[in-house]
Amino acid sequence: MLNDVTFGQYYPVNSFTHKSDPRIKLLALIAYIVALFLAKNFYSLALCFIVLSLGIIFSRVPLLKVLRSIKAILVIMIFTAVLNLLFHGGQNLLWQWWKIKIYLEGVIFTIFFSLRLLFLVMGSALLTLTTTPVALTDGVESLLKPLTWIRFPVRALALIMSIALRFIPTLIDETNRIISAQKARGSDFESGNIFKRIKAVIPVLIPLLISAFRRAEELGDAMDARCYTGSNKRTKYKKLKFGWRDLLIFLLFASLIAGVVLLNIYAYDIYPEIYVYIRLR
């Protein structure tokens, strides 16, 4: 049974990471991603990894949960890794079979690239694991606030997101109910070829659509009745507050970027490292 449990990945525990401001977490994630892409060598990548580990440790989310988020992009990761491995040129040939050549540079680049992707996904997952969708919406709204200057409907956009979040569990419940009802009338969703299965979805989709429209209409009436006019001129009840946690996170990520930049300047590029390796041999 699908229900609001499977929706979103939020992992409900009380931790440092959970309690910090969603805006700073969003900004931190952006800083982290920038740092990852700035990173030119394994030293700066290691620095990113340290920051990521701190985030995971202080979130009290089991490591397995964070790792599970890779599942979604595992195929892409392997695919790109294989491509990189096969087509990355270089000078130190390691292995050759027919026209396939694998170079040392390719191996190193693949490792580097895969790690970067891995850290990226784990970092993003950490945000959704420790921040409720609602808090995330509030954060996005607050960060987009400057756009109201160019008359961008930030409040309306945030309201749309909030309503969407609010109705996801309701519509999932509804879908389950309709699926059950049609199963009770003999619908078969589990066997048959692809066409049969698509056809089996119609008796679920139509009632679901009709119900969604009905709900939308009723919600519209209810919102009208509660004095909603659609204008940007509304007060905002919820205010996000920066705390000491957020200051710490800010400092941490500021130093991360600084660290990555410094390491990029003063340490080797990933390719020169290969020559270090060769010279040692």
């Binding site: 229900n3 969708p133 909030s162 979040l165 199963k183 009338r185 009709i210 009745a225 509660r226 009840y237």
Partner: protein, 608 residues
């Protein structure tokens, strides 16, 4: 000084543009005073909801004049002002909430009218306090019960600080406990905060709470007066598609037998009336022979046997909830069986097991037999048998089972999908009986449409979405019974219908029971419905089987049932009250039998 008149309708008419031209309302004249509690009743489609929407300008009258605190809701600017002063709570609590956290949702209204932040916080405090939901301020509405959600919706409306609160069938989707929660809140708001209430409802007990009642019939005000005046006039009500209240039916029966009983509205009053009669003729204390419930049905080929059924949703997750806990139950062939329980008690989970919509763990693909641990008793394994089907067997022919156990869900009209009524009804046939000839299919469909009381030739080519609410429900039921199931299971078949519609659905089920299906199982919130119709019933509470037996046996434990958040039928209430004054009337708790037994004791004996 503020106006004394809150709402005034003069000669108002309204027609929906997409309708068939017939006005939804016409010639409406009434006024609501400040601080008044008005209830509005009427059959489905009588124009009640239209009335509510006219008050705050969601709809605009086609004729006549409406004035709300001296303002005209047809004017856009005035409508905005009016909406600050008139709040509406709608039927479905799910479709009124915009936010996933209670306080954010309550804040929505005040945000819209630009209330400063500190003030919003105060208003949330006050509104949640007023509906008794303060502790849920940071909860997620989807996790609350229906009654709680509806109270949040009321809080959301209250936070705008309206002078008038309109409830548009706001209790129709709630269980007895939820209904009580909402009506208590509404009555208190009227009494303590002086908020004017317009309560639109199907339930007579709720209409009784008001100072004044308006009866709508086909878009016109048919009656208006105090609830006592209105409900004292039973025959007239019946002609407006509202049933004669059960209590009036009883008092009339008693009067016909020579008892001096006035028409009253509340069980306490009727009990007092009966007691007065008994006291006058010196018959207290008295009792009749205890009611002997019929022997447990012998059963037959199509018995349902449920053994130690337990079920947990989202197992092994932080959100795991136990829905059923060791339920053992037998429903014999030929019964009209009731399942009672508040929302979330597990009764829907229970019935979904009956046709394997929820499969037993043993019947699932990746089932591992639990290992018996040393020193602990062997784990209990759930089992269900329905007729010849063993639902714990992975090889059980589940499709055949589903053809034999028809399942009608709550609000079944929401699962209609086909282009024509014929196609929709034939859907189950095409799934279950693939080799049926065209003539046979047509015959089956015709029979089932006719048995639910619709005209086959008239409706077969219509789109199911063009039918009225009651007709849609019938089509949906036809779409299940068309496969000729042996057992028919219905989850709240009469929910949301007006009294006449309820009565029709119940008589339809009796028509089906016996001729069409051997066994009928209904889930119901309406205790009177269960008492009047069921041969036996089971009470499910917090996933456990609380009791099972004849309704008369179950409802004799009135106090316990109320503590569980359920209700008891009217007859049980009166019997319990009379019992306290030494008049012990034992009946099977149908209104008819209760009346007969009362008359018997009173003076039905040959010497009297």
């Amino acid at each position: 000084m503020e106006e004394e008149i809150a709402v005034r309708f003069s000669n108002v008419a309204f027609s929906y543009p997409e309708g068939d031209g017939a006005p939804a309302l016409r010639g409406i004249n009434f006024t609501v005073r400040r601080g008044e509690f008005l209830s509005v009743i009427g059959h489905n489609g009588s124009g009640k909801s239209t009335l509510a929407r006219l008050v705050n300008g969601l709809l605009v009258a086609s004729e006549g004049e409406i004035s709300v605190f001296g303002m005209n809701p047809a004017d856009d600017k005035a409508a905005r002002e009016i909406r600050k002063r008139v709040g509406i709570v709608f039927q479905n609590p799910d479709n009124q909430m915009v936010a996933s956290i209670v306080e954010d949702d309550v804040a929505f209204g005040p945000e819209n009218i630009c209330v400063p932040r500190e003030e919003i916080s105060k208003r949330i405090d006050w509104a949640l306090e007023a509906v008794g939901m303060s502790e849920f301020r940071h909860s997620t509405p989807t996790r609350l019960s229906g009654g709680q959600k509806q109270r949040i919706a009321i809080a959301g409306v209250l936070a705008v600080k309206p002078d008038i609160l309109i409830l548009d069938e706001s209790t129709a989707m709630l269980d007895p406990r939820g209904r009580r929660e909402v009506t208590d809140v509404v009555s208190r708001l009227n009494r303590e905060e002086g908020i004017t209430i317009i309560l639109i409802t199907h339930f007579m007990e709720e209409a009784l709470l008001a100072d004044r009642t308006i009866v709508l019939n086909r878009g016109e005000i048919a009656l208006s007066g105090t609830p006592e005046e209105i409900f004292g006039n039973g025959e007239l009500l019946e002609t407006f598609n509202l049933s004669l209240p059960r209590i009036t039916a009883i008092s009339r029966g008693l009067r016909a037998a020579g008892m001096d009983v006035k028409d009253v509205l509340r069980p306490e009053q009727l009990a007092a009336e009966i007691e007065r009669n008994f006291a006058k003729s010196g018959k207290i204390p008295c009792k009749n022979p205890p009611f002997l419930p019929p022997a447990e049905p012998a059963g037959g080929e199509w018995d349902i046997d449920i053994n130690h059924l337990s079920f947990t949703y989202s197992r092994k997750s932080p959100f795991a909830t136990r829905a059923l806990n060791d339920v053992t139950l037998r429903i014999a062939e030929g019964e009209f069986f009731g399942v009672i329980g508040h929302t979330g008690s597990g009764k829907s989970t229970l019935i979904q097991h009956l046709n394997a919509l929820i499969k037993l763990p043993q019947a699932q693909k990746h089932y591992k037999k639990p290992k018996a641990k040393k020193g602990k008793p062997a784990p209990v394994v759930s089992g269900i048998r329905v007729g010849r089907f063993d639902l714990s067997d992975r090889k059980c022919p589940f499709r055949e089972l589903r053809a034999s156990v028809g399942m009608v869900f709550q609000y079944p009209e929401y699962q209609l999908f086909a282009e024509s009524v014929f196609e929709d009804v034939a859907f189950a046939l095409k799934n279950f009986k693939k080799d049926l000839s065209r003539e046979e299919t047509e015959r089956y469909v015709r029979e089932s449409i006719e048995v639910v009381g619709l005209n086959y030739e008239e409706v077969k080519d219509k789109s199911p979405f063009d039918l009225s609410g009651g007709q849609k429900r019938r089509v949906a039921i036809a779409g299940v019974i068309v496969a000729k199931p042996e057992i028919l299971v219905l989850d709240e078949p009469a929910a949301g219908l007006d009294p006449a519609g309820k009565r029709e659905i119940m008589s339809l089920l009796h028509r089906l029971h016996g001729d069409w299906c051997k066994t009928v199982v209904i889930v119901s919130h309406d205790m009177d419905e269960v008492a009047e119709n069921c041969t036996r019933a089971a009470v499910i509470s917090d996933g456990k089987l609380w009791a099972c037996g004849h309704p008369a046996q179950l409802f004799s434990r009135a106090d316990e049932l109320v503590a569980l958040g359920l209700d008891v039928p009217l007859t049980a209430k009166i019997s319990a009250l009379l019992n306290k004054s030494g008049i012990e009337i034992n009946s099977d708790l149908t209104a008819e039998d209760f009346t007969r037994k009362t008359i018997e004791i009173y003076g039905g004996a040959p010497d009297a």
